[in-house]
Amino acid sequence: MTTVDRREFIKSAAMSAAVAAAAGSTRAFALPVLTAPGVQWNKAPCRFCGTGCHVLVGVEDGRVVGIQGDLKADVNKGLLCVKGYHVGQILYGKDRLTTPLLRKDGRLVPISWEEAIDTVARRVLKDPKGFAMYGSGQWTIPEGCAGNKFMKGGLSSNHLDGNPRLCMSSAVTGFLSTYGVDEPAGVYDDLDQCDVAIMWGNNMAEMHPVVFSRIVDRRSRGEKVTIIDFGTRRTRTTDHADEFLLFKPNSDLAIANGIAHLLVQNNAYDKDFVARHCNFRQLDPEKPDAMQGKPMTFDEYAAALAEYTPERVEQISGVPADKIRLLAALFARRDIRITSLWCMGMNQHTRGTAINCLVHGIHLLSGHFGKPGDAPTSLTGQPSACGTVREVGTLCHLLPGGRLVANEDHRKHAEGFWNLPEGRINPKPGYHTVLLFEKFCTPTDKGGDIHTLWVQVTNPGQSLPNLHKLFKAKKGLEDKFLIVSDVYPTATTELADLVLPSALWVEKNGMYGNSERRTQQWFKMVDPPGQARDDCWQTIAVARRLFDLGFEGMKNKDAEFLFTFKDKGGKPVPVWDWNHYYDINVDEAFFEEYRPFSKLKQKDLAPYAEYARTRGLRWPVVQQPDGSWRETRWRFSEFDDPYVKKGAGTQFYNSVTKDDKALVWFRPWEPPPEGPDADYPYWLCTGRVLEHWHTGSMTRRVPQLHRAMPAAYVEISSTDAARLGVRSGERVALVSRRGRLELPCWIGGRGDCPEGTVFVPFFDESLLINELTLDAHDPFSKQPDYKKCAVRVERVVTTGAAR
């Protein structure tokens, strides 16, 4: 992938632009569309981030030949980001996995699917309790349904977690502890109507560029929208911001408390909204691990905040006291609409749940909630972190539809919907991601009780924190067995014992759920290469093999196979046989089985056909008297949400306190678990870049994106660089307590770190920055902190220019 030859370049350019004959386009935005007769265009959500843009995929002769933005899509209105325009090319990297591979004598050798599926089944039989599955926010909804039912309903094991644990579980705990139900109340439409958009440690211009365009495009139409950027480094987002507040890492809790303090002290909070809709909470000092906490009165709340005076906040955070006053004054205004946006900055935080709660708290306290443009909205990084993981419940403590494995009623619901014998579902939550990999990488005789791990659609060998401890320690453990379903060789397949080639994106049917509760659907358009097969089929095939081997768990209450799907005539279809997998629409069958789960917490979903017809619908999707299906944009608001009682205005109907009120939390600021000291004097922050998505396993195989951003780098301030005596392009070594990595530095490039901070993107599999990061995690969400750990920077003496 280092060089791209001319032919490849021309081929890929031609592919992105479709074929021949330019049709005239009058659109001001988005690229002109080139097409040709014979190219079939079909809709699909983009494969990359959680924004949920729709693309039109052009197919000719069984091959994707073009991509264009979908004008009919509400989310992106025809626009795509740098990555999105190239999404078709991810299918055609030269090193696609096309055959199952089994490690024999240290080498991966091709085997048949029968042997591969049998190998997985035998590993389950070895000891079902030690078999775990690690899924993904890139799983389609049906894939998540299959994995969840296979593990929790089939193996009676809750050792199923997903990578969203690493990216948004603090947002989940934030929503749950505030509203009693997960996912944002607001939608992207807020961005078209807000007067102020606040980015809480969120570099939207690079991470969610299309959503960010929705805000900045308003300016080109002459509208005024104020962008406030909170951050620990200057980014592309800062270029568009009216105010940039640089804060010291980990001090965001102090800032949020400072704003709340001023609202209370100046009597500027929304008294009516607070009286009608809010209760106050703090953590119970006797049970600090309990997410429920204990009630507090408003006066106690005010007293707890008292220490966060603007001056004290300035001391902790480095943000001038006047700026804190300015923010509080903004929230105090009732005539403007404020939307808060955040993503990994607040979630990948050892106090992630706390800061999420505090930002919701400010919005509730100031009444900036529930009106178009007034919303605290979290964004997700993966296309179906919401749809597949948060809603389907593919985490170790969840069941579908916002249910908990620890709740007896919830288990009974699931057993009912899945037609399982009573007591099948294990009441004990399984291992969360960090613990799961720790157990997998610990020798069995030392308590590592996970012997087999099946990873689907994700790349933990690159994305886990503290990689030496949580992933590379697996090497040499003979009795541990790693199964990886993926489309390309990755850092994870390097240690895999069994590699299963998967179908990717439009090579299969799929459904995703984006950041704004929008469920989306697409149909298979091209065939997967070689013997690559759907992840969903792989799960079903293993289940069937277990069933054939007499494994009791793979039978439902009526002793039928767990995944029995019937055709229109009521005849069971042998979907475990690849030749018959597409005889029926398995996606539709899974989705219809899952739909009833969604009612409990008013997350109602429409029938599959509705999603096939539209560019996604935002739940709750409620059927109207005329039979049509209506999506809901603003949840908990009477004017839009059908579940809110008439006259209530705003109603938090999933309330933790069962009185239709939300909880405003007090959470104190606390120092971080690891910060710079004499030995490790720099903060290390990690993240993404515009051109690459996640671990780069797809985007690094797109020539244009690879050329635009070929390798990882360390962003360092010019002052620190001068002190170290390094210039842009020269190599430095970063050393943390957990690892060491050499990489070139980039000074004054895309972003700009303040003195004492360095930033490294994690997309590059040859420069694994996660060997250095910290596996300390939030106590409630179990989400690790990738944004803050201490490192040392050393100059590396090299001969010759490095670039």
Binding site: T3, V4, D5, R6, F9, A13, S16, A17, A28, F29, A30, L31, P32, I67, L79, L80, C81, V82, Y85, H86, A205, E206, P209, V210, F212, S213, V216, D217, R236, D239, H240, L690, E691, Q704, L705, R707, A708, M709, G749, R750, G800, A801, R803
Partner: protein, 195 residues
């Protein structure tokens, strides 16, 4: 002028050889190309600091020292399609870009002195095709301006790249990194390097 005469003689010889080979292989000989009135420099992109083209062709010894000195492998040998310039050092825009090393190792390596420190480093001028540029089409993209190695040559104006012709050296880095589906940057060659 004697150089030009040399070149035409060489071309003449090569032409006759080709005709002989074709005759032996039984391939019909195409009609002779019309005689060109004067020698026209080919739009070939030289490494930075090159002397005027006629002198370059005459004095470059094809020693490949600049090619070996280039730390990024951007300089290559001109292939046969460059006719009389074949074998001389060039930068192929489609596959490589000069990264404008501050210490210009290619110039330091040039013994015959056809790459010179006292010559302008200009190799061409970049040009942004607005219909294909993502930034001009509403997508947030600033890759070219971030990678441009010449301060001030590529400004971002309201989020959109704008080339400053006077400062741009035509190194081609912007074209190389452009992530647009159809590359939005072309490097226009210099009509001829100033004498």
């Amino acid at each position: 002028m004697s150089n030009d005469a040399d070149i035409s003689r060489r071309d003449f010889v090569r032409g006759r050889l080709l005709r002989t080979v074709r005759a032996m292989a039984g391939v019909p000989t195409p009609p002779p190309a019309p005689q060109r009135a004067a020698w026209v420099p080919l739009p070939i992109r030289r490494p930075p600091g090159a002397v005027p083209e006629a002198r370059f062709l005459a004095e470059c010894t094809r020693c490949n020292a600049c090619i070996q000195a280039c730390p990024v492998g951007a300089i290559t040998v001109a292939p046969m399609r460059f006719r009389h310039a074949a074998g001389t050092p060039m930068i192929d825009q489609a596959t490589a870009a000069c990264v404008m090393c501050p210490d210009t190792p290619c110039i330091s390596a040039c013994e015959p002195g056809v790459l010179r420190k006292d010559r302008p480093l200009k190799m061409g001028t970049a040009w942004v095709d607005r219909s294909n540029c993502l930034a001009h089409r509403g997508t947030l993209c600033t890759t070219c301006s971030e990678r441009c190695p010449v301060p001030g040559a590529l400004r971002v104006d309201g989020g959109k790249p704008a080339i400053q012709d006077a400062t741009c050296t035509g190194c081609g880095v912007c074209a190389q990194v452009c992530p647009a589906p159809i590359n939005a940057i072309a490097i226009l060659p210099l009509p001829d390097r100033p004498a």
